[in-house]
């Protein structure tokens, strides 16, 4: 019988790029041994969590066995945790964020889905610069939303094309969704580009009027702490009253599996309290109920810590050297931990195949809405990056032959 809906069946077929890479990788590792394969396909932060994590978890163990020690917390999060995160965001975002502006969520993914559930009606649109994290389409699509990717300026470091974004806005557009530092390009959006996007949002909202449905500026920023060469990631909340930050501690604290993130709504947003209440409701009714309590407490206790991010910078420099030596054309990422180089010859699938022949795993750019490039994730040891050098050279040579 037909157990699954047609839509989900299509989704299962459509998600096959990353799945294919994963399965191909498993197969290659079985054949050649895990050590022989240079796997740049996954973004699972492998740098250990901060050392303090151990003491925090141990201390939590005694509290956990008290009555309600691991019980439900309010749907928006543990009050003390919300306050701690609000104070942290107030500093980071240079905005008077308070606990009432924050909802703790099951990762940034849970934050996005809960947020979209609250604001997206069937047929509504969400605009994002491409290439983009491909799950965005599902996140709003669950509720009838439609993702409209707008190509970034590949020749200018994958800056967002603000004019094209503005031109893509229709009365049905509910959000501009940006992700800076960007997965997959590593681009950090400049303060000027962010200001221009915020101006577009303000202009649209002024035209829609007090009775209209606003356009939100959503900033998905799990990689905020990953900025190199002295780059800074400009705060978003001060730019427009309709700004919303969605973040997580998955990458900064290397606790991606424990699923801790948050939504923070601008304290300046008119009727922002309704939106926060709505996200608290959808966070509950979507089955998240509350962000995992152990992870919430861990994150709050580790706000002054990060995993050793210098490791990522060293890998970045090494990967840049490997690509340069192989004659691959790429933009040096200033943030996150990905490279998005051009496929020699222009065919991302051909490049991915040629790399696979060398036991090097990459994901084709079409998996991120931009063919002709590939994504490499540097969440692997420097030894593996170094070891991939010859494979890159041979793969490039083959494609240029």
């Amino acid at each position: 019988m037909q157990t699954v809906t047609d839509q989900i069946k299509a989704s299962m077929a459509g998600s096959s790029w990353i799945r294919k890479m994963f399965e191909k990788g498993m197969e290659l590792k079985r054949q050649h041994g895990a050590e022989a394969v240079c796997d740049f396909s996954l973004g699972n932060p492998d740098v250990p969590p901060p050392a303090k994590t151990k003491a925090v978890l141990e201390a939590m163990a005694s509290e956990a066995v008290k009555p309600l020690g691991l019980g439900y917390c309010p749907n928006a999060g543990i009050p003390a945790v919300r306050e701690a995160i609000a104070a942290y965001l107030a500093r980071q975002q240079q905005s008077p964020v308070s606990a009432g502006n924050v909802v703790m969520t099951v990762g940034a993914a849970g934050a996005l889905v809960s947020f979209f559930r609250a604001v997206v009606a069937p047929g509504d649109e969400v605009i994002c610069p491409s290439p983009y994290f491909v799950e965005y389409g599902s996140y709003c699509g669950h509720f009838g939303g439609v993702l409209k990717p707008v190509p970034s300026i590949a020749d200018d470091g994958f800056r967002p094309d603000v004019a094209a974004i503005e031109a893509a806005i229709t009365p049905k557009t509910r959000a501009l969704l940006v992700n800076s530092p960007n997965n997959p390009t590593g681009c950090i959006y400049s303060e000027e580009d962010m200001r221009r996007l915020a101006s577009v949002v303000d202009k649209v909202n002024a035209a829609r009027g007090d009775e209209g449905r606003p356009l939100f500026l959503l900033s998905d920023e799990p990689y905020r702490a990953f900025a190199y060469d002295g780059a800074t990631v400009p705060p978003v909340l001060p730019l427009t009253p309709y700004a919303v930050v969605l973040g997580s501690f998955s990458k900064t604290l290397s606790l991606a599996g424990e699923r801790i993130g948050y939504v923070a709504v601008s304290p300046q947003m008119p009727d922002g309290a309704t939106l926060v209440n709505a996200v608290t409701l959808t966070n509950r009714t979507l089955g998240f109920v509350n962000a995992p309590v152990i992870g919430q407490r861990l994150a709050a206790a580790l706000l002054d810590e990060t995993a050793d991010l210098d490791v990522y910078d060293r890998r970045r420099k090494l990967m840049a050297k490997v690509l340069t030596d192989a004659g691959v054309d790429f933009t040096m990422p200033r943030g996150a931990f990905y490279f998005f180089p051009k496929a020699p010859g222009g065919d991302d699938l051909a490049f991915v195949d040629a790399l696979q022949d060398e036991l090097v795993l990459a994901v084709p750019g079409r998996g991120f809405g931009m063919a002709g490039f590939v994504r490499l994730s540097c969440s692997v040891d420097e030894k593996i990056i170094a070891r991939s050098a010859d494979g890159f050279k041979r793969a490039v040579a083959k494609l240029k032959a």
Copy 2:
């Protein structure tokens, strides 16, 4: 501006019964002190987690700070945890469940939502006996599903009305959703009733044919371990190949806030692998990504343990005495930790109000789809139950006056 969709706005207004109770409770506690209020409104398991939880968490602390110690796991769960849960379910369900039949989820709520996303198309129906856990409506409603409650037989201990359920099935019905032991009634569905429901499912599926979309028998069983007076909860997986179990450790291990549950698809289901893959996909794309890894490991390490469930039985007996002494008409619950007594005079709101005047908090039955009753949760200390006795008597006296 109108930040939130009309549907979610309606949902916010609709969820106001439990919210009102919660807010009223907060207000009463502020006015009279938390000690003075007997709060039977919430189902947050307050019996401490098993003592072993402490040692397990401490041991985990050393592992957590290794690379990937808290990293993403496969979307369906940590392989060793899936295997442990499968072995546990194989014993409990008397069915050859293997890891491939199981997806670890963010609580039973996350299990239900991920499952509905995989099988419910807009306009599809889900039938459940009422009274019922009111969030079921949202869980399938997010994707255009419609919940169709069918009243249980209140005069016969809230047994499901199998004939009425069968009569309610249409070509659009995708699932019969049962919850035994039941929230809010405490009813444990008999093996015979479960067999009759399974026969209905088999008959419908035979008629729909190989190319049709099946009717599933969903068993939501977070309270399976809560059975008293020697009662047993019959296993569901052997009853029909289209059986699916959705469970959690929130109540049994008192770790509701850590959000650990699972979906287990019958090993006999034709093309069950597609369904498991679909739920794995929706679990990811709905933003859960994977069930929290600390909680997964905790649950797997504590499968032979439970919180002290005898406490709940003692409370049950005490609450029964309190209600009997007050002249309240009720069915003795054989499972879970709720009472669903009749409102004296028949008006649940009037009874809830009269109880509030006595600083006793209950939830009106209409919040569970059945007016004329109230729900009392025994996840509170015996002292509080004892202390409520006079309040119940006075409230009943007032309504009978």
